[in-house]
Symmetry: C2
């Protein structure tokens, strides 16, 4: 214990817009506390950066408490148990939790909600941060519990090559839906086509013509929109809703650069009335009672060969802020991970 | 037949903003066609003006086809059958339909969807345009089918003293909800309190402080919003949502002055995500298969003394445009009718 020193990223200051080099601070040579009964010491193997973190480094109201300057950055991770005073984990086990934090070592309560033992024989351990973890479950609940997709639906998915989007696209396709990817580059759309998306829209290329491009891609209107972005992509969908459309609000990454500031623009809620449609926000944690159902569905899809998953892996704890910024600017390609 | 001449209002031109004296044109001495098999001739007794008509006199996309300049204005009405070639109606019966039009006499198909015989012994015939008609059913479906109210919910209702709002408030109250009226004057709020609303917000008086006023009226947040207005009242509710809130989008009367033009302002959809809430647009006609259910519930509430209904009656076909404009500017008080 005593000779292991931790390295961790804390929030240095709230970013005004897009986070930058001044937003986080690396702390080194941090002593680790002795384990208490029930606790485990975990050495990170993979850490995750996800769009929701933008909301946590803002003083604006959010669905979860924010990180204050000086505090450890929040984040999911999976690692190896190197010391245990928990009956649930032994040394050599792998543990995954959304509450790992941006750090090399974490002292965790083995009994906490949301900490899971990961079976490295079933899938690579980093899957627990991707298709078999929070992003995969988010895709599953958004489609089946919130949007209630049915065969034949035209399903538009923004950030389609991202961690959530790629899983959502493949699950919807396998359910008999027509799937439309929205992404920031042709390379991403090409890959989306490879994994089964029926059509694609490049929102950067479309620019102001995005509503028309969306209309071309969805000639009978959008039945379901899995919204990972908000912003102009949402607007374009709202102008192309089919009767009885369902919009699952999952994320607002397009608002990252101005997070917490007023979002002024075109207000399109009357479209919901005209098209008798609904828009519903959700969090994966709202469905904690259904995680087993989601995990089984995801594992079944993977085992049947219906679920590809692309990862974008950077190396080393030093890379965390760069990985996060890459994600917020859509310069990642696939689920962004950091290998420790 | 031949000696009865009709008077009717046609759309003269699309209004740019709020309709005015130039929007409609009264046509007089219009000959009535001879009845065909199945048709009835009905003399209007009460005609209705309703907020949805603003959407129909615009070239903007809407949920129903619009009226073009030169065409008869659309609208509901109830009247006496004065000639019949229908097996379903005899002379002296009362007939009600959303398809009456702004006219003194209507030739109607007795077999058409949505035409109903009105029993004058059950309730005054004008009730078929109010609490026992489209507005009453709209209130019922919005609360029970769309927002799915439950006892204990804090239910905010805009245009609360209007045709839909007053019914919604009383049904929600009787279901065990806490009800909050939003209206344009203290007189209206006083009357809302008389019929059982628990609290009231005067949006004109509150002005820019409307979000704070809404927060004071709903200290535990808004569980259900019955939205008859859109605009700043919706914004104020969005900033005060409770977890799991449901917004039933029924009307957008606050957008009347700029109908069809881009609505630029604060975009608050992230609130739906933060609060895991949903917003859903609906039309009463979506629930046509459930009209009997609604009618029975409304009649039961009325018979049990739980359902007051205030009407604002103007006289004569000449008054139709003035009645409509009064409605759009919130200068009516209760369900706006025109007695013919």
């Amino acid at each position: 214990m005593s000779n292991i020193k931790n390295r961790r990223w804390v929030l240095a200051e709230y970013p005004g817009g897009m986070p930058d080099a001044d937003t986080f601070r690396l702390e080194e040579d941090i002593a680790l506390p002795d384990l208490k009964d029930g606790e485990i010491l975990v050495a990170a193997r993979f850490l995750s950066v996800d769009p929701y973190m933008r909301g946590r480094i803002s003083p604006a109201k959010n669905y979860a408490p924010g990180i204050e300057p000086g505090q450890l950055m929040t984040g999911g991770g999976v690692g190896e148990v190197i010391e245990s005073r928990s009956g649930k984990f032994k040394v050599g086990d792998f543990a995954e939790t959304m509450g790992f934090g941006w750090q090399q070592f974490a002292v965790l309560d083995g009994d906490a909600d949301g900490i899971a033992r990961v079976d490295a024989n079933l899938a690579p351990i980093e899957s627990s941060l991707g298709w078999l973890g929070m992003p995969g479950r988010t895709a599953y609940f958004g489609l089946f519990h919130v949007a209630q997709i049915k065969p034949g639906d035209c399903v538009v998915i923004s950030a389609a090559s991202g961690a959530v989007g790629q899983v959502a696209g493949q699950l919807a396709k396998h359910h008999g839906c027509r799937t439309v990817a929205v992404a920031s580059s042709q390379a991403k759309l090409d890959w989306c086509a490879e994994i089964g998306f029926d059509a694609g829209v490049n929102y950067r290329e479309a620019g102001d013509d995005l509503p028309a491009a969306m209309g071309m891609a969805c000639p009978d209107g959008v039945d379901v929109y899995f919204d990972n972005t908000s912003g102009p992509i949402q607007d374009a969908v709202m102008l192309n809703l089919a009767l009885g459309a369902r919009i699952a609000l999952c994320g607002t990454i397009a608002l990252s650069a101005t997070f917490g500031q007023p979002d002024i623009g075109l207000r399109l809620n009357r479209q919901l009335l005209i098209n008798r449609s609904r828009m519903q926000g959700f969090l994966v944690t709202d469905f904690a009672d259904h995680y087993d159902e989601a995990n089984q569905a995801l594992a079944a899809a993977r085992n049947a060969g219906h679920l590809e998953f692309r990862e974008d892996v950077m190396d080393g704890i030093e890379a965390m802020p760069a990985a996060f910024l890459k994600l917020l600017t859509s310069d990642n390609f696939g689920k962004q991970l950091i290998k420790i």
